[in-house]
Symmetry: C2
Subunit: 569 residues, 2 copies
């Protein structure tokens, strides 16, 4: 229901009346957490009191009675945890399944950049994610993708100008403009890029940064343009240079990139108020095995000696302050009753999670999570993003000598390994192809790949940064065509082909990026596919799908393959 | 000129282009402050660098060349100072003259609550102040008066509901709802009061508090309703109770109320991030003799041992954070070039002030300040707010016994001194009247006043909290009528009458509250009037006008006089 403004004021006044009735004790609260030890992020202390909750908010903290009462003795309450920057798509799960996975870890809000799906679906990708996250018990807040496509070399599903994304700023869950990767454009007068920043500012919104290694005058220029945060710092010096110029530093500890060890020294009284946590990318097994923001807190405290209160503030208050999330990030009257009970401030094991006053997780059990209704037309669009004709082995053949991309174990950078005239399994030279799959242009980039290790069969994936075309690598062209056709037929995902037939894989039917399956099942299939890929020879130290997915990103050194062919970066 | 949105984006992009060109060194900056020591509020350090300025913003901080260059050796730069809560009217000067007075003290932004003029003129009072502050070199930001009239007992010039003030939230300089004094209304379900809060929140705006001495559950309720700050704390315990519940604490050090000594212990790393400075009321001599926010910093550092960096942050960054003033409160790329050069971090003597990159004060000299153009109709309204017929001595006569208000030297509280049947100069019992002056209702409240000291003549003032009716106190009714008629004839102000003729006074022709004269001249006339009042017998320890102005405020104990007669509070 869309209220009139008058109605919204009336409802706001009525909600306040109910809150104040409970706060003053004239009415019982809905729920009182009795004898609760809680982290007061305003005084940096652990306090003990009853916490009275009415509806989705905290009414008062003191001595209270409630319709329901829970004794909290022996636990410590934290404000709900906030991930300052993530691409939800990186979990390979639908938003609902992502929420099921992170809520038991105490996460009650994430700020997502739907960069991946938007590179596939354009603005409809943003709409899809907004609808698919509506009403979930983890608040999914959005920044608008700033760089679609990531580079002009890419053939993505869409190309978005400032005008294309502008109307999204009116959505109540859109907080700003996401990581501005085009720092050259910012600092060297690209009108389209600067217009995106100007528009975000005119809407009173935040602009996130992404500028690994930028220093000195270029960094001054980038920040002067209005970019308020960075999550790409990999050294303390880099972080301090950005912090002293006014940026908030998002300390990232995700799956692909891990900066906590380097940046933990920021988490002191001198600097911590400008620091928050984020994950950027979280892959299924990492989410399931380690956790989410709770994991970063545990690591900060136990491995890096960070004061637990400071770690909690980075995970709560500071994120809320940077993003101007009123009524979040603290346990205080009027704040959202987003609460996490942990056993203590050392192990930080999550025991209970309340979202908006409702207990959603308790004793290892997650309550039912409402499934957001996505409009039929959007849902159909999201499940039909492969606009490419079936391929034949001929499509992968060439007489030309082609460049050889060298993979580096444990890294996403590559090396330039010269040229080759064909597959050479002895020398671990495989054929690699990137197939344009958004507009059926017929563009196929071909090249060779060394260091992957495959001895037979083929591997294909539609998770292919950042444009998410179709990457195929194989020991011969017939297997490659089979793998590509399998992905096209299943509308996206990952497949391992042996003898012309898929032997393992994950269907990622939402935009070729996400599955409707539960995260555990996605992970099971993915681990199975990894094992099968290893059986086919893929080397230790190479993630057969994730490392492969970066071979098409033409902004990372040294040699990359796009739909138009090899690119030297 | 009102830009189209498209035009605003284009201008925003162009401004960024120019900033980044200078930041990267491709173009010279407009101005470079060379070798500048400056307080970095993000790292809590004094750094040294060149500060490059383009237009009204800082482009970069490092090593720069500019069209103009100034060597800053031997000075320390601070961000422009911010007063978090003031009623500009308290200076008795027009906004332009107020700005002339505070800019040399390093103030570059104030958050004003036009409570006084709005009680006289209603919404036109807000419009008048918005127009009268447009384009001034101190940014005058607004909170909307929340309590007009201050109490239902008052007869003010207007009565404003949430709907009456709602459209003002669209103005770019309106930041929220001003001090909510009706805390009983907030905590006990007054629908009009709660609707004002709900509306402010729906506009994404701040709600300031005013709740002296409120504690426990009532305080929880008040804060739960969304009120984010308090400037009325007079003890450390009270401030901590509010701070730990999430309110920002405005440490007030003004003319009438001074809380710095009690609250300075908050200015430590544990609490300071939630603290800012304000003055609330600053009277002419106090502004001229002591200064403004710079004075609070000096006092904090030199008298109360506060760390200078923390004091500077309370005067800058923390105010900007509470009010969400992007690009203010720090010296960093992209921030407004609002800068204050002081000699050192002990004496904090202001040597130069830049507002938006323009040096406005230097070597004791203030540059010309543009005079805002107020619409003719508004200006006429503001200069014609006395709607009351001339009075005769008969209007002040009565046969009844009336209550006696006892004044208390140095305080604004009063005592109930029983009743009297007439003026009795031996016992220092004078007649006092409060005359309704907004709607010519003919209402005159009469009573007696003890402790003022006047031996002959009369004193009248149209500064009469909070409804600003006309207060007259006199030794006889003829003198009282003369004093009242003098104020009516001059459309407001303060007068001292002796023998039926004014012997001193200040004309306050703007709404009966402010003068168009320079602050120095207002002060000279006011001091002269004080001297004349003293000659007529007014007691030491009684400010003849300020203390008198509170005798009509029916929310302060014990006995008060309104237009309808005496009120026991």
């Amino acid at each position: 229901m869309q209220d009139s403004y008058n109605g919204a004021v009336r409802r706001g006044a009525a909600a306040r009346k109910r809150l104040t009735e409970a706060a003053t004790g004239r009415q019982k609260a809905d729920l009182v957490l009795k004898n609760a030890s809680y982290v007061n992020v305003f005084t940096d202390q652990v306090s003990v009191a009853d916490i009275a909750i009415v509806g989705d908010r905290i009414a008062g903290i003191g001595s209270y009675e409630g319709e329901r009462e829970l004794d909290m003795t022996g636990k410590v309450l934290l404000p709900g945890l906030i991930d300052g920057h993530i691409h939800l798509e990186s979990s390979l799960a639908s938003p609902g399944e992502f929420v099921r996975a992170v809520l038991p870890h105490g996460t009650t809000a994430v700020v997502t950049d739907p960069h991946e799906i938007t590179n596939v679906m354009g603005t409809e990708g943003i709409d899809y994610m907004l609808e698919a996250t509506e009403g979930l018990p983890v608040d999914v807040l959005f920044l608008l993708p700033s760089c679609v496509p990531a580079t002009p070399m890419d053939e993505s599903g869409a190309e978005l100008s400032w005008r294309d994304i502008d109307s999204f700023y009116d959505h109540p869950r859109v907080l700003g403009l996401a990581e501005m990767m085009n720092y050259y454009g910012v600092t060297h007068g690209d009108e389209g890029v600067l217009s995106k920043l100007a528009a975000a500012q005119l809407h009173g919104k935040r602009m996130d940064g992404h500028a690994p290694g930028l220093t000195g005058r270029e960094l001054d220029a980038y920040i002067a343009a209005g970019i308020g945060s960075d999550h790409e710092c990999s050294t303390l010096d880099e972080a301090l240079a950005k912090l002293e110029r006014g940026q908030y530093i998002m300390i990232r500890e995700g799956t692909a990139a891990r900066n906590l060890a380097a940046l933990a020294p920021l988490l002191t009284p001198q600097y911590a108020s400008r620091c928050l946590f984020c994950t950027d990318d979280k892959h299924p097994n990492d989410l399931l095995e380690k956790g989410h923001i709770d994991y970063i807190i545990r690591e900060a405290v136990n491995r890096h000696g960070v004061d637990p209160i400071i770690a909690v503030k980075a995970a709560t208050l500071h994120a809320a302050q940077y993003f101007r999330l009123d009524g979040r990030g603290a346990i205080a009257p009027g704040y959202l009753a987003d609460l996490v009970a942990v056993d203590d401030l050392t192990s930080f094991r999550v025991q209970q999670v309340w979202k908006g006053g409702v207990c959603r997780y308790e004793n290892g059990t997650l309550s039912d999570i409402p499934k957001p209704q996505v409009s039929a037309d959007l849902d159909e669009l999201a499940h039909d993003t492969f606009h490419v004709s079936p391929l034949t082995p001929e499509d992968f053949r060439t007489e030309e000598s082609l460049g050889v991309i060298g993979m580096v174990p444990g890294e996403i950078v590559s090396t330039d390994n010269g040229t080759a005239d064909g597959v050479d399994l002895e020398r671990d030279i495989l054929k690699i192809a990137v197939i344009e799959r958004h507009h059926n242009t017929g563009h196929i980039g071909l090249g060779y790949l060394q260091g992957y290790g495959l001895k037979r069969g083929a591997v294909a994936t539609s998770v292919a940064h950042d444009s998410h075309n179709l990457i195929v690598v194989g020991a011969d062209e017939t297997e490659m065509a089979a793998a590509a056709n399998q992905i096209i037929a299943q509308h996206g995902g990952i497949t391992v082909v042996d003898g012309g037939r898929p032997v393992a894989g994950v269907v990622l039917e939402i935009a070729g990026l996400m599955s409707d399956l539960p995260l555990e099942e996605i992970n099971r299939r993915l681990e199975d596919a990894k094992a099968k890929a290893a059986e086919l020879g893929v080397s230790d130290g190479i993630d057969p799908f994730m490392t492969l997915s970066f071979m098409s990103l033409p902004v990372i050194p040294t040699l990359r393959l796009t739909t138009r062919g090899l690119v030297r970066v």
